[in-house]
């Protein structure tokens, strides 16, 4: 099987792997059958490579840090509060925001597949979809956090959320104390993807 596509692209010096060939064949079949418009496929890919990603979530967090009315709304009705910033749709139909505090650290996983809030964080990173994280986040969350460089005091309760339904969770991390006079725009720049999954803390760059 590995040699089926031996002559494909050989002259380009970039031989396709068996799985790449399998996907290429499937793509041409589905386009030829008229089930897929290739331009739509490209637009779908481009949407998640360039338009929808963790910068969206960072804007939600920065607004929650600077606007008390928005923060209140976010914890009461995250779906509506997040939609008000224009972040809606697939894999974000039902949102819940989780508040990190000195007493409580929330962290999100999907042990059964890789459910993730696409409208605010984009498509998930490989580690989020892989067995080490999916297996251990629920049984050893503090051990996992250490691998991300996060050590929490024993007095902080870790609450893990396993996304087993169509509810998508967004962690609202703690705001660093030294950012008191920062603008919402500047704050959004320091909010990391991992801090909104709950595997990181927001830090002011040195």
């Amino acid at each position: 099987m590995a040699h089926d596509g031996h002559d494909h692209d050989h002259h380009h010096g970039s031989e396709l792997s068996p799985i790449a060939l399998r996907v290429k064949a499937l793509e041409s079949l589905l386009i030829e059958k008229g089930y897929v418009d290739p331009a739509a496929m490209d637009a779908l890919i481009e949407t998640y490579e360039t338009k929808i990603g963790p910068r969206n979530g960072a804007r939600v967090v920065a607004k929650a840090w600077t606007d008390p009315a928005y923060r209140k709304w976010l914890f009461e009705d995250a779906t509506a509060a997040i939609a008000s910033l224009g972040y809606t749709g697939r894999q974000g139909e039902h949102m819940v925001a989780l508040e990190n505090t000195p007493d409580t650290h929330n962290m999100v996983v999907c042990t059964l597949c890789s459910c993730y809030p696409w409208p605010v964080l984009g498509l998930p990173p490989v580690w989020y979809k892989s067995p080490p994280y999916r297996s251990r986040a629920v049984i050893d969350p503090r051990g996992v956090l250490k691998e991300f460089g996060v050590e929490l005091p024993a007095t902080t309760q870790v609450k893990v959320w396993d996304s087993t339904a169509e509810i998508r969770y967004l962690v609202i991390p703690m705001r660093p104390a030294e950012t008191r006079d920062w603008s919402e725009e500047k704050l959004a720049e320091i909010v990391t993807r991992d801090s909104m999954i709950g595997t990181g803390l927001v830090q002011v760059p040195a």
Partner: protein, 217 residues
């Protein structure tokens, strides 16, 4: 289904390996699988639950040896055959060997943004009032269906507390089978690490669980 996908609490997979400045896709074929699944999903006539169930139908050894987009590719090929959009021979050869199935018009590039960001909801009209309220103690049923379920093994037969009532949602266990949405009340149920793992800590795990998974404790 007690498959390899049900990973909560499993051991031996090693440390988590975050990748700095990770790209959205690592290989071009992953990009294409994503685009194909998203585009065909608009016309294929299957639900997200059926899609998850199809990915879980991989053999356990293959599931663990392969990554996310290979799971998707397996699921997509399975669904295309199951729903009559393509035959296994067509998938193997990439050549048309059977008539095209009549499906809705393919999504155009101009419709993509609306399709991706447009409103959607898994909430449905309840047929009966919610059985539980926040603070209620519940025990998960010790069930082992051979078909799709969203009650992971590690949380079966355990006692927890209702923390949120999410509303009445499409029930994946039936929707994945194509036997209807059969909506049920959905709750966030919180378990202590002691109850789940016998560990002496105040940490908790919360899962979203439908009423048929639960009984009063």
């Amino acid at each position: 289904m007690n498959g390899a996908h049900d990973l909560g609490g499993a051991m031996g997979f090693g440390p988590v390996a975050p990748e700095p400045n990770e790209p959205v896709f690592h290989e071009d074929w992953e990009r294409r699988v994503y685009g194909l699944m998203a585009a065909v999903g608009d016309v294929g006539g299957w639900s997200i639950d059926e899609d998850r169930s199809a990915c879980e139908a991989m053999s356990p050894a293959t599931y663990l040896k392969t990554g996310y987009y290979e799971h998707w590719l397996h699921g997509l090929e399975y669904l295309l055959v199951k729903h009559g959009l393509a035959t296994p021979q067509e998938i193997a050869t990439g050549k048309i060997l059977s008539p095209r199935k009549t499906v809705p018009e393919a999504t155009t590039a101009g419709e993509v943004w609306e399709r991706v960001t447009g409103p959607g909801s898994y909430l449905r009209q309840p047929q009966s009032p919610a059985r539980f309220k926040p603070g209620d103690k519940v025990r998960t049923r010790n069930i082992h269906p051979e078909t799709h379920t969203r009650l992971p093994r590690y949380a079966r037969g355990r006692t927890g507390e209702i923390t949120l009532v999410h509303g009445c949602h499409v029930f994946p266990d039936s929707n994945a089978m194509g036997t209807g949405e059969d909506p049920h009340w959905l709750y966030a149920v919180t378990f202590t690490a002691r109850e789940l793992w016998g560990r002496d800590t105040a940490d908790t795990v919360t899962l979203d669980l439908w009423e048929p998974y639960l009984e009063p404790a």
